[in-house]
Amino acid sequence: MNNLLIWPVALPLLTALLALLWPRRSNWIGVAGTGLPLLAVLLVSWQVAASGPLELALGGWAPGLGIALRADGLSVLMLLMSALVTMAVAVYASVYFAHAERRGEFWVLWLLLITALHALFLSGDLFNLYVTLELLGLTAVVLACLGGSRESLQAALRYLVLGLLGSLTFLIGVALIYAGYGTLDMAALGDAIVAGPTAWVALSLMTGGLLIKSALFPLHFWLPPAHANAPAPVSAVLSALVVKAALYLILRLWLELFDGVVTQAAAVIVGVLGAIAVVWGSWAALQAERLKLMAAYSTVAQLGYLFMFMPLLAALPEGAGRELALGALVLLALTHGFAKSAFFLAAGIIMQRAGHDRIAELGGTARSLPVTAFTIALAGVALIGLPPSGSFLAKWQMLSTLFVTGQWVWLPVIAVGTLLAGAYIFRLLGHAFAPGEGVGPSLSVGREEIPAVLLALIATLLLGFWASAVWELVPISAYAGGGA
């Protein structure tokens, strides 16, 4: 059954080749190539939930020599998010790019992006992680400049340079690890790594590279222009998934590989940067005049919350308390993934209908596009962290962990961030529900509106009422030796 693990990676790769060979049918191939891996991911998740972590040594070579794929609770959750979000976005994109000249290119890159994402979440060794990270970064950059405008090219160029800088730094860290410990297999490294100069330097380099990629303040400046100027389906996956991939790696490194090396001081530094990102990103979102730019700044802020978990996690001993906090982190990341992709898709619909996304001129949107306005409202509820969304539960548990660890200092940041998020979401809703002619005549519900609203419903209802599955999956780890 372990052969299952190859399919979430192989299926999108094979269909990418098909799309390349057969560009006229690329719409169908693209949607099918996104849907088949979803089925594979569902099977993998079911297996992991039922019988624990899975491991597959490709070609029969033992880990250390060959390539190992591993699936545990954390990777399954990330895979599920990525497969579901890409599925919805692919349906949306089949309408969005229905008549675009460059749709052939889009679908090939799109399927490669999915391949890279899934491979990253399943990789069991550091070199593979580097390769997938690089592939992910490159496909994301090319997708981001498909918009073709001058701004999007400039933003994509900056994205490329910083992305390369990030992965290069990561690679140097990986090289140091190989020099120091003679292996790149993560399960073996979890036991081998001990606190010392090599470990510290390697960890700093790898983390630094990943922080650029996950746009933590003050390395966030490339994100808002890149995410705001890309075509809507691309923005959705960039904000929802691509930045999360870097975050996933940081979690793996900090909690499983370098568990004994990470110091509280380092965690606090990351936490402080996260806190600044929350306040600054939310404030910038409140000031933003364009819908997509607002959404992009909101991503900077939401990533900040995730990094604020680091000092909390570092202060907790391994056990139930830490799993609670880790589950809350993952739940927050998942909710944000679904809510933000829904938000960007809705913004894309408004932009296509109205021809602009200036917030102050959106009056009448709720009347002419009720489903899309509803999507924005639902996604907004999740971004603020109000019930019944998953982020409400996550924030509750985060506050609870705050009280347990006595790290009171973060409380005002969460409070201010929540209120600012409320302010920018309701400012937008106020404009959207006001009377006006902004968006033009009323049209029937479009095929592209359905995936957006489904994503928003997952964030606000499914993850709210069935969140306990997250806490059941997170403790299933393939790297149990990490803490020893």
């Binding site: 609670l324 109000l386 539960l393 548990q397 209120l419 529900f433 806490w471």
Partner: protein, 501 residues
């Protein structure tokens, strides 16, 4: 029986949630189907609540639990206190729905309005049935979300401004409540609502910590209960359509805050333990200030709905005052006022809406001689107003009587009785001039906008009957206060269960 005890609370929530969601998808012009869905939901809910009342009276347990996350359970649980609030919301929702159908005829966005209206009631009923603090916080925030679109409904700049102010206050309040709730949750490992309170069992907890948490919870709840100085949103929110104001002031928002305060004092801290901590006297003082301040502000308002809004600020704090005085009689007075104020205030707002709808009257100074032109509405208004002043046999008298008795019993008569007397005098000072104008003056100027000139009846049935019905109800529950299942009897039942004698 087993399954019914689990499904009944869920059914009560769904009976307004499902119609609400369905209504969102109805096109504007299908008003018959919409009306059918609305009324069907309201009647089913009434039926289910009837079963609930019977069951709780006979000490049956109704409980639904859903595991959400480690340490967090979504719990619906019906006790005597929930039943008091659930019945009030259900009954007044039915009446208000009928009124709203008449009031909003031929206006745009009705599907949106009734959708959110049903969600608003769902959230209120959820608050009433919440079985632990976590579930309460969930519904408290949902209520904010469901009410915002109702206040902003007209879409005019003033409506949007009022809604924005409402949101600013309530999001802030919700956040404080959540922080307090999480803190308490972390200290105790989960806070279920238990009659008589639970915190006195945690002897090892620092008393000062518990006082701070109490402050946080009350600040969070005080925003919706419109305690001074957190009341600023309420007069602004009166830009909403009349049925919304009626529901807001009688059942949904302000009552949610007051009900929450009652829950925290009785079923989380336990009233005796709260008194021991010394937090009740401060709350009592705030309530007294709010009662007087609201009445004084109401005096100077010429705008009718604004005068009623400040009157709400004042009247809701009677409930808080009753909760802040230790002793079963004061408890009864506060709890019974939860129902009495709702029935009387909804009458007043229905009447105010009718004046605006029929004759374009928005100000007290325009009401000269309106009694002869609109006798039904004005009679209802008068009964409500007399009840607010506390004149027997209208229901408001019963509340004030028990509050007074409770104050004497608790030895707090020195400051409570002057507050009650001053407030009653002030109530008389701002309500009696309205009644005088309506009944005894003749109209000096033409009506601002006479929309019913030449009609045989003063108003169509769906607008006239709701205030008349609720006014009659206010009279009946005052007259037959000692009858079985009356609000007073029920409040006595609760008080009996809350005090561990």
């Amino acid at each position: 029986m087993m399954t019914m005890s689990v499904w009944l609370p869920v059914g009560i929530l769904l009976s307004s949630f499902i119609p609400g969601v369905l209504i969102f998808f109805q096109p504007e012009e299908r008003h018959r189907l919409r009306t059918l869905l609305n009324l069907l939901g309201a009647l089913v809910k009434l039926l289910l609540v009837g079963v609930l009342i019977w069951g709780v009276f006979h000490e049956q347990v109704f409980e639904t639990r859903w595991f959400l996350a480690p340490g967090l359970e979504f719990v619906l649980h019906a006790d005597a206190l929930s039943v008091l609030f659930v019945s009030l919301s259900t009954l007044l929702w039915l009446v208000t729905t009928i009124y709203a159908i008449g009031y909003l005829e031929q206006t745009p966005h009705r599907s949106r309005f009734f959708g959110f209206f049903s969600l608003c009631v769902t959230a209120t009923v959820g608050l009433a049935l919440a079985g632990n603090l976590f579930t309460f916080v969930v519904f408290y925030e949902l209520l904010t979300l469901a009410t915002y679109p109702l206040i902003a409904h007209k879409g005019s700049p003033e409506a949007l401004r009022g809604a924005r102010i409402y949101l600013r206050y309530t999001l802030f309040g919700g956040l404080l409540l959540m922080i307090g709730a999480v803190w308490l949750h972390t200290l105790t490992g989960g806070v279920e609502f238990v009659q008589g309170g639970v915190l006195d069992q945690f002897a090892e907890l620092d008393r000062d910590l518990l006082r701070w948490i109490f402050l946080l919870l009350i600040l969070g709840l005080g925003v919706k209960a419109a305690l001074v100085p957190l009341h600023g949103w309420l007069p602004q929110a009166m830009v909403a359509p009349a049925p919304v104001s009626a529901l807001l002031h009688a059942v949904a928002v302000v009552k949610a805050g007051a009900f929450g305060i009652v829950r925290v004092i009785y079923d989380v801290y336990g009233v005796e333990f709260a008194a021991e901590l010394g937090v009740l006297s401060l709350l009592g003082a705030v309530a007294a200030i709010t009662i007087i301040y609201g009445s004084v502000k109401a005096l100077s308002q010429d705008h009718l709905k604004k005068r009623l809004a400040y009157s709400t600020v004042s009247q809701v704090s009677y409930i808080v005052l009753g909760a802040a005085i230790l002793g079963p009689l004061a408890t009864i007075g506060g709890l019974v006022h939860l129902v009495h104020q709702g029935v009387m205030k909804i009458t007043l707002f229905f009447a105010a809406g009718n004046y605006a709808e029929a004759l374009g009257i928005h100000r007290v100074s325009e009401m000269d001689g309106v009694g002869r032109r609109m006798p039904g509405t004005s009679l209802a208004f008068s009964i409500g107003a007399l009840g607010m002043i506390g004149i027997p046999p209208v229901a408001g008298f019963i509340s004030k009587w028990y509050l007074g008795l409770g104050a004497v019993e608790a030895g707090a008569a020195v400051w409570v009785l002057p507050v009650l007397i001053a407030s009653s005098l002030l109530n008389a000072a701002y309500f009696l001039p309205i009644l005088y104008r309506a009944w005894f003056k003749s109209p000096a100027t033409p009506w601002p906008a006479d929309k019913t000139a030449g009609c045989a009846r003063e108003l169509p049935d769906p607008l006239l009957w709701p205030p008349v019905t609720t006014a009659a109800l206010a009279l009946l529950i005052g007259l037959f206060a000692a009858a079985p299942y009356s609000p007073l009897e029920w409040a006595e039942l609760i008080a009996g269960r809350e005090y561990r004698q």
